[in-house]
């Protein structure tokens, strides 16, 4: 019943998020043949080193390699980093803070239901609602690509989806901590918003970029994955592992805080 209730609350938002992700992808793929020729000109306008690497990748003389780089940017760097994080913040901040704000949390926790179970049920469904659209949209890119005579590798797409999902799940887990501590959803969203924006700002400053979490979800990660230069073993022994550990640690912190919170 707990799962069903949370699913009913999230289902329309999750569907909207999926449709927006897909709506961002389809025109990007269908416009690919026209955009390709304009890339060098766009590259000259962008001052950032990382962005120039993206443009170089997309401007590759090998059309297949260029298309893989383009998909890495469109689906993962742009799509997931914008919409995935927005969805994680929207779903995550509401999990506990909205119940507290609507004064339903006390009624819910007055039932014979442990706080851990409440949080786990809500977190699992929010995680699925955030992650499943990433996989669906990235796999759908294969079908859309076929319509413009391009090919996408299933395994590399899946690997990039796993990496971006772990990144979004880490953001979701952090958001849940804020949701547990905040008096209302807006307060939680404000804190997460400040952290995410400051991380984006850090990412754009070359000298301190190393301190930004967005380095784990940028073209320098997805480009090599899509090109087949960054394999599963390297990922799962490196940054994917650390992201997975972060998700678990952040979730455990949220659970501990929730157990000790005065409602």
């Amino acid at each position: 019943m707990m799962f069903l209730k949370t699913w009913k609350e999230l289902r329309w938002m999750a569907l909207t998020y999926l449709l927006i992700l897909e709506a961002m992808l389809v025109p990007a793929i269908l416009l690919w043949p026209n955009l390709r020729g304009e890339m060098p000109a766009i590259g000259r306008l962008v001052p950032f080193e990382f962005a120039q690497r993206m443009i170089e990748g997309i401007s590759n003389r090998d059309e297949s390699a260029a298309y893989l780089a383009y998909i890495a940017v469109q689906v993962f760097f742009k799509g997931v980093n914008v919409m995935g994080i927005a969805a994680a913040v929207l779903f995550g901040t509401g999990l506990i803070a909205r119940e507290r704000e609507c004064q339903t949390l006390e009624f819910l926790l007055a039932r014979p239901l442990s706080r851990s179970r409440v949080l786990a049920g809500k977190f699992c469904l929010a995680a699925l609602a955030v992650v499943i659209p990433i996989f669906l949209v990235s796999w759908s890119a294969m079908a859309w690509s076929a319509s413009i005579d391009e090919q996408l590798p299933f395994w590399e797409l899946t690997l990039a989806s796993i990496q971006s999902s772990l990144f979004v799940l880490a953001i979701l887990a952090f958001t849940v901590i804020c949701s547990v501590l905040a008096r209302n959803q807006l307060q939680a969203a404000f804190v997460v918003g400040v952290v995410v924006i400051s991380q984006v700002t850090i990412y754009f400053i070359q000298e301190i970029r190393v301190a930004s979490i967005f380095r784990l979800s940028d073209f320098d990660v997805y480009g090599p994955i899509m090109a087949g230069n960054l394999g599963a073993m390297q990922l799962f022994q490196g940054m994917s592992l650390w992201l997975a550990v972060s998700v678990v640690v952040l979730y455990v912190i949220a659970d501990r805080l929730f157990k000790r919170a005065d409602l």
Partner: protein, 332 residues
């Protein structure tokens, strides 16, 4: 409407048994909880203190509730009643003091407590997007057993269960919350202002239902601002003022003081005998007098033909409450 109660529990597997759906009345044996019989106090609170940051809300609360007792919990707004009740079910945690509910510590075993205790929160809301039936099904799905009250509650509180809760009035929402809290078969019912937003007839129905629970041996802790309800239902009343429970001796002293009160209606104006602590004229023309000595001796000095009506030593809960709160505020 006459209501009948069967104290024997029913078991259900999927929550709320809507009228005409007997399918919900059978549960697999593995779902049943086997409760240990209660021998000691159901609720035992000693020296309870609670602080929110630097604000101290409870200074010293002591409470003892025995099995099968119906306790009224009374005090002004902000006295700490709801805070105490929320500590009992483990929704918030005590800063210091000893708290035991059904023999367990709410800070560590709140889930086990909530399996045997049904709590109606005072300031709460219910899910606006659900229909009434969905809400009941959801709320009751966590309890393995229900009393026969399900049907009785339907009769007592008729609600359009197919409508969304968001379209309900505040009184209808309160009835729904009451059904969700009173239908589960529990050992202890903790009810925080159950009569909030209810109309007079619904309050009467609630009183009948609570009497039924009381008759079936349930332990009930009731917080209400309607003192007449508490007076009618509770075997014992615990007063809480500014975060402290009032000692029973002090309540007894207040009651004793009130026994010296006389409410008198006279045929015409006359000079009253001496020996009064105070004389107050009431709105209906009668006179309230507190005598220094025995009120009957004082009354004997009045000519009988002058007295239209007299009431001696009536100790209403409202008057005890008024006396205690005035004393707390330093008023005469």
């Amino acid at each position: 409407m006459a209501l009948t109660f069967n104290p024997g529990p029913r078991e259900c597997n999927s929550g709320f048994p809507l009228p005409g759906s007997p399918d919900s009345l059978a549960a697999p044996a593995s779902n049943r909880y086997h409760y240990a019989p209660m021998t000691g106090a159901v609720v035992q609170v000693e020296g309870l203190q609670k602080q929110f940051g630097s604000t101290s809300v409870l200074h010293r609360v002591d409470l003892l509730v025995k099995p099968g007792e119906f306790i009224g919990f009374v005090g002004p707004n902000g006295a700490g009643k709801s805070t105490t009740l929320r500590i009992l079910v483990g929704l918030i945690f005590a800063t210091s003091g000893r708290v035991q509910v059904l023999g367990m510590d709410p800070a560590r075993e709140s889930l086990a407590i909530r399996r045997r205790c049904s709590y109606l929160p005072g300031e709460t809301s219910i899910y606006q997007q659900m229909t009434g039936a969905d809400f009941l099904r959801f709320a009751l799905s966590f309890y393995p057993q229900q009393t026969e009250l399900a049907m009785e509650m339907h009769a007592a509180f008729p609600l359009p269960l197919k409508r969304r809760v968001g379209s309900y009035s505040s009184g209808m929402k309160q009835k729904l919350a009451l059904m969700a809290s009173l239908i589960p078969d529990a050992d202890l019912y903790i009810l925080d202002e159950p009569d909030r937003a209810l109309d007079a007839s619904s309050r009467l129905q609630l009183r009948i239902i609570l009497e039924g629970l009381k008759a079936s041996g349930k332990t009930i802790l009731l917080n209400s601002h309607h003192l007449s309800e508490i007076e009618a239902l509770a075997e014992r009343t615990v007063f809480i003022l500014e975060g402290r429970t009032v000692a029973e001796e002090r309540v007894a002293a207040a009651r004793e003081n009130l026994r010296k009160d006389i409410t008198l209606r006279l045929q015409s104006e006359m000079e009253l005998p001496t020996g009064t602590e105070f004389v107050r004229r009431l709105g209906d023309g009668s006179i309230k007098i507190r005598t220094i000595g025995n009120p009957m001796d004082w009354l004997a000095q009045l000519p009988g033909e002058k007295i239209l009506s007299v009431e001696v030593g009536a100790t209403r809960l409202e008057e005890i409450y008024s006396l205690l709160t005035k004393a707390e505020a330093g008023q005469p």
